[in-house]
Protein backbone atom coordinates (compact mmCIF):
# COMPACT_ATOMS: atom_id res chain seq x y z
CA UNK A 1 0.00 0.00 0.00
CA UNK A 2 2.83 2.38 0.88
CA UNK A 3 4.58 1.72 -2.40
CA UNK A 4 1.40 2.47 -4.36
CA UNK A 5 1.04 5.72 -2.44
CA UNK A 6 4.72 6.57 -3.08
CA UNK A 7 4.32 6.04 -6.83
CA UNK A 8 1.23 8.24 -6.86
CA UNK A 9 3.11 10.94 -4.97
CA UNK A 10 5.96 10.90 -7.46
CA UNK A 11 3.57 11.13 -10.39
CA UNK A 12 2.02 14.23 -8.86
CA UNK A 13 5.09 15.97 -7.46
CA UNK A 14 8.04 14.95 -9.68
CA UNK A 15 6.19 14.44 -12.93
CA UNK A 16 3.61 17.18 -12.36
CA UNK A 17 0.68 15.09 -13.52
CA UNK A 18 -2.64 16.47 -12.40
CA UNK A 19 -5.18 14.27 -10.60
CA UNK A 20 -7.55 15.07 -13.47
CA UNK A 21 -5.18 13.67 -16.09
CA UNK A 22 -4.53 10.39 -14.32
CA UNK A 23 -8.13 9.92 -13.21
CA UNK A 24 -9.33 10.35 -16.79
CA UNK A 25 -6.84 7.76 -18.07
CA UNK A 26 -7.70 5.41 -15.17
CA UNK A 27 -11.45 5.68 -15.70
CA UNK A 28 -11.05 5.16 -19.44
CA UNK A 29 -8.99 2.00 -18.75
CA UNK A 30 -11.76 0.66 -16.54
CA UNK A 31 -14.45 1.25 -19.16
CA UNK A 32 -12.25 -0.30 -21.85
CA UNK A 33 -11.53 -3.40 -19.76
CA UNK A 34 -15.24 -3.81 -19.01
CA UNK A 35 -16.08 -3.48 -22.70
CA UNK A 36 -13.60 -6.23 -23.54
CA UNK A 37 -14.81 -8.66 -20.85
CA UNK A 38 -18.55 -7.87 -20.97
CA UNK A 39 -19.41 -6.58 -24.47
CA UNK A 40 -22.90 -5.06 -24.77
CA UNK A 41 -24.05 -8.06 -26.79
CA UNK A 42 -23.30 -10.38 -23.85
CA UNK A 43 -25.93 -8.82 -21.56
CA UNK A 44 -29.11 -10.79 -20.85
CA UNK A 45 -30.97 -7.66 -19.73
CA UNK A 46 -32.79 -5.92 -22.60
CA UNK A 47 -30.36 -2.99 -22.45
CA UNK A 48 -26.68 -3.24 -21.44
CA UNK A 49 -27.51 -1.68 -18.06
CA UNK A 50 -24.65 -1.15 -15.61
CA UNK A 51 -24.84 0.10 -12.02
CA UNK A 52 -21.78 2.15 -11.01
CA UNK A 53 -21.41 2.56 -7.24
CA UNK A 54 -19.08 5.46 -6.41
CA UNK A 55 -17.40 5.96 -3.06
CA UNK A 56 -16.35 9.18 -1.33
CA UNK A 57 -12.80 9.48 -2.70
CA UNK A 58 -10.68 9.05 -5.78
CA UNK A 59 -11.95 5.52 -6.46
CA UNK A 60 -15.40 7.10 -6.79
CA UNK A 61 -13.94 9.66 -9.19
CA UNK A 62 -12.51 6.82 -11.29
CA UNK A 63 -16.03 5.37 -11.29
CA UNK A 64 -17.56 8.61 -12.59
CA UNK A 65 -15.07 8.76 -15.47
CA UNK A 66 -15.70 5.07 -16.16
CA UNK A 67 -19.47 5.63 -16.26
CA UNK A 68 -19.10 8.42 -18.83
CA UNK A 69 -16.95 6.31 -21.13
CA UNK A 70 -19.28 3.31 -20.73
CA UNK A 71 -22.06 5.54 -22.01
CA UNK A 72 -19.98 6.46 -25.04
CA UNK A 73 -19.24 2.78 -25.64
CA UNK A 74 -22.98 2.08 -25.88
CA UNK A 75 -23.82 0.93 -22.34
CA UNK A 76 -26.63 2.35 -20.16
CA UNK A 77 -24.88 3.24 -16.90
CA UNK A 78 -26.65 4.42 -13.76
CA UNK A 79 -24.63 5.94 -10.92
CA UNK A 80 -25.13 5.76 -7.15
CA UNK A 81 -23.01 8.45 -5.51
CA UNK A 82 -24.11 9.03 -1.91
CA UNK A 83 -21.09 10.93 -0.51
CA UNK A 84 -19.82 13.61 -2.88
CA UNK A 85 -16.71 15.67 -2.02
CA UNK A 86 -17.32 19.35 -2.66
CA UNK A 87 -14.24 19.73 -4.82
CA UNK A 88 -14.32 21.08 -8.38
CA UNK A 89 -12.85 17.85 -9.76
CA UNK A 90 -15.72 15.69 -8.50
CA UNK A 91 -18.38 18.32 -9.18
CA UNK A 92 -17.11 18.57 -12.76
CA UNK A 93 -17.16 14.79 -13.26
CA UNK A 94 -20.70 14.62 -11.88
CA UNK A 95 -21.84 17.38 -14.24
CA UNK A 96 -20.24 15.61 -17.19
CA UNK A 97 -22.18 12.43 -16.34
CA UNK A 98 -25.47 14.25 -15.88
CA UNK A 99 -25.07 16.10 -19.18
CA UNK A 100 -24.60 12.72 -20.84
CA UNK A 101 -28.02 11.71 -19.42
CA UNK A 102 -26.56 9.26 -16.94
CA UNK A 103 -29.11 8.94 -14.11
CA UNK A 104 -28.03 9.28 -10.47
CA UNK A 105 -30.11 7.11 -8.12
CA UNK A 106 -31.52 8.89 -5.07
CA UNK A 107 -31.41 5.64 -3.05
CA UNK A 108 -29.53 2.41 -3.17
CA UNK A 109 -31.65 -0.64 -4.12
CA UNK A 110 -32.63 -2.34 -0.86
CA UNK A 111 -32.47 -5.89 -2.15
CA UNK A 112 -29.73 -7.65 -4.08
CA UNK A 113 -32.50 -9.21 -6.17
CA UNK A 114 -33.53 -5.79 -7.49
CA UNK A 115 -29.99 -5.15 -8.68
CA UNK A 116 -29.86 -8.58 -10.35
CA UNK A 117 -33.07 -7.84 -12.21
CA UNK A 118 -32.25 -4.33 -13.43
CA UNK A 119 -28.54 -4.51 -14.23
CA UNK A 120 -26.24 -6.90 -16.05
CA UNK A 121 -23.10 -5.68 -14.29
CA UNK A 122 -22.12 -3.70 -11.20
CA UNK A 123 -19.00 -1.52 -11.09
CA UNK A 124 -17.53 -1.29 -7.59
CA UNK A 125 -15.85 2.13 -7.38
CA UNK A 126 -16.25 2.50 -3.63
CA UNK A 127 -12.83 2.18 -2.00
CA UNK A 128 -9.39 2.15 -3.54
CA UNK A 129 -5.84 1.51 -2.49
CA UNK A 130 -5.79 4.20 0.19
CA UNK A 131 -8.55 2.46 2.16
CA UNK A 132 -7.74 1.78 5.79
CA UNK A 133 -9.75 0.93 8.86
CA UNK A 134 -13.48 0.63 9.34
CA UNK A 135 -16.11 0.94 6.65
CA UNK A 136 -18.38 3.92 7.36
CA UNK A 137 -22.06 4.01 6.48
CA UNK A 138 -23.73 3.97 4.06
CA UNK A 139 -21.04 1.82 2.52
CA UNK A 140 -21.28 -1.01 5.06
CA UNK A 141 -24.88 -1.72 4.08
CA UNK A 142 -24.10 -1.22 0.40
CA UNK A 143 -21.30 -3.77 0.56
CA UNK A 144 -23.54 -6.26 2.39
CA UNK A 145 -26.08 -5.98 -0.40
CA UNK A 146 -23.41 -6.26 -3.09
CA UNK A 147 -22.05 -9.40 -1.46
CA UNK A 148 -25.43 -11.04 -2.17
CA UNK A 149 -25.70 -9.86 -5.79
CA UNK A 150 -25.40 -12.60 -8.43
CA UNK A 151 -24.64 -10.46 -11.51
CA UNK A 152 -20.92 -9.91 -12.13
CA UNK A 153 -19.12 -7.20 -10.18
CA UNK A 154 -16.11 -5.37 -11.62
CA UNK A 155 -13.95 -3.76 -8.92
CA UNK A 156 -11.74 -0.77 -9.62
CA UNK A 157 -8.24 -1.32 -8.21
CA UNK A 158 -9.20 -3.07 -4.96
CA UNK A 159 -12.38 -5.01 -4.17
CA UNK A 160 -14.04 -2.61 -1.75
CA UNK A 161 -13.84 -3.57 1.89
CA UNK A 162 -10.76 -5.72 1.35
CA UNK A 163 -7.56 -5.09 3.26
CA UNK A 164 -5.32 -3.60 0.54
CA UNK A 165 -2.64 -6.21 1.18
CA UNK A 166 -4.37 -9.21 2.76
CA UNK A 167 -7.75 -9.30 1.04
CA UNK A 168 -10.94 -10.36 2.81
CA UNK A 169 -12.08 -13.94 2.55
CA UNK A 170 -15.67 -13.20 3.64
CA UNK A 171 -15.92 -9.96 1.70
CA UNK A 172 -16.90 -9.00 -1.84
CA UNK A 173 -15.88 -11.58 -4.46
CA UNK A 174 -15.85 -9.69 -7.74
CA UNK A 175 -15.79 -11.38 -11.15
CA UNK A 176 -13.42 -8.76 -12.51
CA UNK A 177 -10.58 -6.71 -11.07
CA UNK A 178 -9.03 -3.77 -12.88
CA UNK A 179 -5.68 -3.06 -11.24
CA UNK A 180 -4.57 0.50 -11.86
CA UNK A 181 -0.90 1.26 -12.46
CA UNK A 182 0.23 -2.07 -11.00
CA UNK A 183 -1.55 -4.90 -9.16
CA UNK A 184 -1.70 -4.45 -5.39
CA UNK A 185 -0.85 -7.24 -2.97
CA UNK A 186 -4.55 -7.93 -2.42
CA UNK A 187 -4.76 -9.06 -6.06
CA UNK A 188 -3.11 -12.31 -5.02
CA UNK A 189 -6.39 -13.19 -3.25
CA UNK A 190 -8.53 -12.38 -6.30
CA UNK A 191 -10.43 -15.43 -7.54
CA UNK A 192 -12.66 -13.90 -10.24
CA UNK A 193 -12.52 -14.62 -13.97
CA UNK A 194 -10.98 -11.43 -15.30
CA UNK A 195 -7.95 -9.51 -14.07
CA UNK A 196 -6.99 -6.52 -16.19
CA UNK A 197 -4.22 -3.99 -15.80
CA UNK A 198 -5.06 -0.37 -16.57
CA UNK A 199 -3.58 3.09 -16.15
CA UNK A 200 -1.01 3.02 -18.93
CA UNK A 201 0.71 6.18 -17.78
CA UNK A 202 3.59 5.02 -15.61
CA UNK A 203 6.81 6.43 -17.07
CA UNK A 204 9.50 3.81 -17.81
CA UNK A 205 11.85 5.39 -15.25
CA UNK A 206 9.26 4.95 -12.47
CA UNK A 207 8.57 1.38 -13.49
CA UNK A 208 12.27 0.64 -13.11
CA UNK A 209 12.66 2.53 -9.85
CA UNK A 210 9.92 0.50 -8.18
CA UNK A 211 10.77 -2.72 -10.04
CA UNK A 212 7.18 -3.03 -11.17
CA UNK A 213 8.03 -5.62 -13.86
CA UNK A 214 4.84 -4.87 -15.73
CA UNK A 215 4.18 -6.97 -18.81
CA UNK A 216 3.91 -5.11 -22.11
CA UNK A 217 0.60 -3.59 -23.11
CA UNK A 218 -0.55 -4.69 -26.58
CA UNK A 219 0.14 -1.99 -29.24
CA UNK A 220 -1.83 1.18 -28.38
CA UNK A 221 -4.30 -0.48 -25.97
CA UNK A 222 -4.80 1.18 -22.61
CA UNK A 223 -5.54 -2.14 -20.89
CA UNK A 224 -3.82 -5.49 -20.63
CA UNK A 225 -5.62 -8.71 -19.76
CA UNK A 226 -3.61 -10.53 -17.10
CA UNK A 227 -6.01 -13.48 -16.65
Amino acid sequence: QEEAQAIDQELFTEYQFSVDQLMELAGLSCATAIAKAYPPSSFTTSQPAVLVVCGPGNNGGDGLVCARHLKMFGYQPTVYYPKRPSKPLFEGLTTQCKKMDIPFLPEFPTEAAFIDELYGLVVDAIFGFSFKGAVREPFGSILSTLERVTVPIASIDIPSGWDVEKGKADGLQPDMLISLTAPKKAAMHFTGRYHFLGGRFVPPALQEKYALNLPAYPSTDCVLQLT
Partner: protein, 190 residues
Amino acid sequence: QAFPLPSLPRKQPTVLVVCGPAQNGAIGLVCARHLRSFDYEPTIFYPKRSPDPLYRDFTTQCEKMDIPFLSYLPTEVQLINDAYNAVVDAVLGAEGTEGTEPCAPILATLKHIRIPIVSLDVPSGWDPDSGGPGGLSPDVLVSLAAPKACARSFLGRQHFVAGRFLPFDVQRKFELNPPEYPGTECVVAL
Protein backbone atom coordinates in the same frame (compact mmCIF):
# COMPACT_ATOMS: atom_id res chain seq x y z
CA GLN B 1 -2.43 3.38 -36.25
CA ALA B 2 -1.15 5.10 -39.39
CA PHE B 3 2.50 4.25 -38.73
CA PRO B 4 2.67 1.06 -36.67
CA LEU B 5 6.09 0.29 -35.19
CA PRO B 6 6.90 -2.65 -37.48
CA SER B 7 6.18 -0.51 -40.56
CA LEU B 8 8.76 2.19 -39.84
CA PRO B 9 11.63 2.43 -42.33
CA ARG B 10 14.34 3.49 -39.87
CA LYS B 11 15.98 1.18 -37.36
CA GLN B 12 14.88 3.39 -34.43
CA PRO B 13 11.20 4.41 -34.17
CA THR B 14 12.03 8.12 -34.12
CA VAL B 15 9.38 10.78 -34.55
CA LEU B 16 9.86 14.55 -34.51
CA VAL B 17 7.06 16.46 -32.79
CA VAL B 18 7.03 20.15 -33.63
CA CYS B 19 5.00 22.14 -31.10
CA GLY B 20 3.71 25.66 -31.57
CA PRO B 21 3.17 28.22 -28.82
CA ALA B 22 -0.54 27.65 -28.17
CA GLN B 23 -3.08 24.88 -27.64
CA ASN B 24 -2.13 22.91 -30.75
CA GLY B 25 1.43 22.72 -29.43
CA ALA B 26 0.23 21.57 -26.02
CA ILE B 27 -1.74 18.77 -27.67
CA GLY B 28 1.53 17.86 -29.42
CA LEU B 29 3.24 17.56 -26.02
CA VAL B 30 0.57 15.16 -24.75
CA CYS B 31 0.82 13.23 -28.02
CA ALA B 32 4.60 12.91 -27.62
CA ARG B 33 4.20 11.50 -24.11
CA HIS B 34 1.76 8.84 -25.28
CA LEU B 35 3.99 8.01 -28.25
CA ARG B 36 6.74 7.35 -25.72
CA SER B 37 4.41 4.99 -23.81
CA PHE B 38 3.73 3.23 -27.09
CA ASP B 39 7.52 2.67 -27.45
CA TYR B 40 8.20 5.25 -30.13
CA GLU B 41 11.20 7.56 -29.66
CA PRO B 42 9.78 11.06 -29.92
CA THR B 43 11.90 14.20 -29.99
CA ILE B 44 10.24 17.54 -29.41
CA PHE B 45 10.95 20.95 -30.89
CA TYR B 46 9.12 23.52 -28.76
CA PRO B 47 10.76 26.90 -29.35
CA LYS B 48 8.18 29.22 -27.83
CA ARG B 49 6.91 27.80 -24.57
CA SER B 50 3.55 28.83 -23.25
CA PRO B 51 3.42 30.26 -19.71
CA ASP B 52 0.12 28.43 -19.07
CA PRO B 53 0.65 26.23 -15.97
CA LEU B 54 -1.15 23.27 -17.53
CA TYR B 55 1.08 23.40 -20.61
CA ARG B 56 4.16 23.85 -18.42
CA ASP B 57 3.18 20.64 -16.61
CA PHE B 58 2.88 18.83 -19.93
CA THR B 59 6.44 19.96 -20.68
CA THR B 60 7.68 18.63 -17.32
CA GLN B 61 5.94 15.31 -17.91
CA CYS B 62 7.73 14.96 -21.25
CA GLU B 63 11.10 15.96 -19.84
CA LYS B 64 10.75 13.46 -17.01
CA MET B 65 9.88 10.78 -19.55
CA ASP B 66 13.34 11.41 -21.05
CA ILE B 67 11.95 12.88 -24.24
CA PRO B 68 14.67 15.14 -25.71
CA PHE B 69 13.87 18.75 -26.58
CA LEU B 70 15.80 20.15 -29.55
CA SER B 71 17.32 23.57 -29.05
CA TYR B 72 16.97 24.42 -32.72
CA LEU B 73 15.35 23.00 -35.84
CA PRO B 74 17.88 22.14 -38.54
CA THR B 75 17.31 24.22 -41.66
CA GLU B 76 19.06 21.51 -43.64
CA VAL B 77 16.01 19.43 -44.54
CA GLN B 78 18.03 16.30 -45.29
CA LEU B 79 19.04 16.09 -41.63
CA ILE B 80 15.37 15.80 -40.66
CA ASN B 81 14.63 13.31 -43.43
CA ASP B 82 17.52 11.13 -42.28
CA ALA B 83 16.89 11.23 -38.53
CA TYR B 84 13.15 10.68 -38.24
CA ASN B 85 10.44 8.40 -39.61
CA ALA B 86 7.71 11.02 -39.47
CA VAL B 87 6.97 14.51 -38.24
CA VAL B 88 3.99 15.50 -36.09
CA ASP B 89 2.84 19.00 -37.01
CA ALA B 90 1.43 20.49 -33.81
CA VAL B 91 2.41 24.03 -34.73
CA LEU B 92 -0.83 25.83 -35.46
CA GLY B 93 -4.42 24.78 -35.06
CA ALA B 94 -7.72 26.37 -35.85
CA GLU B 95 -6.48 29.72 -34.55
CA GLY B 96 -3.44 29.79 -36.79
CA THR B 97 -1.99 32.45 -38.97
CA GLU B 98 1.25 31.70 -40.63
CA GLY B 99 3.04 34.90 -39.84
CA THR B 100 3.35 34.30 -36.09
CA GLU B 101 7.04 34.06 -35.18
CA PRO B 102 8.76 31.65 -34.86
CA CYS B 103 6.27 29.63 -36.87
CA ALA B 104 7.06 31.03 -40.31
CA PRO B 105 10.62 29.73 -40.59
CA ILE B 106 9.58 26.36 -39.07
CA LEU B 107 6.84 25.94 -41.63
CA ALA B 108 9.20 27.00 -44.40
CA THR B 109 11.54 24.15 -43.42
CA LEU B 110 8.75 21.59 -42.95
CA LYS B 111 7.31 22.30 -46.39
CA HIS B 112 10.43 20.76 -47.94
CA ILE B 113 10.78 17.56 -45.95
CA ARG B 114 10.14 14.26 -47.65
CA ILE B 115 9.15 12.10 -44.68
CA PRO B 116 5.42 11.85 -43.80
CA ILE B 117 3.78 14.64 -41.82
CA VAL B 118 0.88 14.09 -39.44
CA SER B 119 -1.02 17.31 -38.78
CA LEU B 120 -3.08 17.85 -35.65
CA ASP B 121 -6.48 19.36 -36.37
CA VAL B 122 -5.49 21.84 -39.08
CA PRO B 123 -2.39 21.55 -41.29
CA SER B 124 -0.31 24.43 -39.98
CA GLY B 125 -0.48 27.46 -42.18
CA TRP B 126 -3.86 26.55 -43.67
CA ASP B 127 -6.86 28.78 -43.17
CA PRO B 128 -9.12 26.67 -40.92
CA ASP B 129 -12.15 27.36 -43.11
CA SER B 130 -10.95 27.51 -46.66
CA GLY B 131 -7.74 25.48 -46.66
CA GLY B 132 -5.73 27.06 -49.30
CA PRO B 133 -2.28 27.42 -50.66
CA GLY B 134 0.98 28.08 -48.92
CA GLY B 135 0.67 25.55 -46.12
CA LEU B 136 1.98 22.07 -45.46
CA SER B 137 0.79 19.01 -47.38
CA PRO B 138 0.44 16.41 -44.65
CA ASP B 139 0.21 12.70 -45.23
CA VAL B 140 -2.16 12.18 -42.33
CA LEU B 141 -4.67 14.54 -40.72
CA VAL B 142 -6.12 14.00 -37.26
CA SER B 143 -9.20 16.16 -36.86
CA LEU B 144 -9.91 16.98 -33.23
CA ALA B 145 -13.53 16.88 -32.07
CA ALA B 146 -14.79 17.22 -35.65
CA PRO B 147 -13.24 17.97 -39.04
CA LYS B 148 -12.76 21.67 -39.79
CA ALA B 149 -14.04 23.08 -43.05
CA CYS B 150 -10.54 23.13 -44.52
CA ALA B 151 -10.38 19.33 -44.23
CA ARG B 152 -12.25 19.19 -47.52
CA SER B 153 -9.02 20.31 -49.18
CA PHE B 154 -6.97 17.56 -47.52
CA LEU B 155 -5.36 15.34 -50.12
CA GLY B 156 -3.20 13.08 -47.98
CA ARG B 157 -3.37 9.37 -47.34
CA GLN B 158 -5.40 9.09 -44.14
CA HIS B 159 -7.88 11.29 -42.30
CA PHE B 160 -8.73 10.35 -38.71
CA VAL B 161 -11.31 11.93 -36.44
CA ALA B 162 -10.64 11.98 -32.71
CA GLY B 163 -13.93 13.10 -31.27
CA ARG B 164 -15.32 10.28 -29.23
CA PHE B 165 -15.24 12.38 -26.08
CA LEU B 166 -17.89 14.81 -27.31
CA PRO B 167 -21.07 14.60 -25.24
CA PHE B 168 -24.11 13.52 -27.24
CA ASP B 169 -25.98 16.80 -26.77
CA VAL B 170 -23.04 18.77 -28.17
CA GLN B 171 -22.93 16.44 -31.18
CA ARG B 172 -26.64 16.97 -31.76
CA LYS B 173 -26.53 20.72 -31.21
CA PHE B 174 -23.85 21.21 -33.83
CA GLU B 175 -25.23 18.51 -36.11
CA LEU B 176 -21.90 16.80 -36.20
CA ASN B 177 -23.16 13.37 -37.33
CA PRO B 178 -19.99 11.63 -36.32
CA PRO B 179 -19.15 8.23 -37.79
CA GLU B 180 -19.29 5.09 -35.67
CA TYR B 181 -16.16 4.42 -33.68
CA PRO B 182 -15.04 0.80 -33.79
CA GLY B 183 -15.11 -1.03 -30.42
CA THR B 184 -13.46 1.08 -27.75
CA GLU B 185 -11.23 3.06 -30.16
CA CYS B 186 -10.94 6.80 -29.63
CA VAL B 187 -10.17 7.53 -33.29
CA VAL B 188 -11.83 6.47 -36.51
CA ALA B 189 -10.40 6.62 -40.04
CA LEU B 190 -12.68 8.46 -42.43
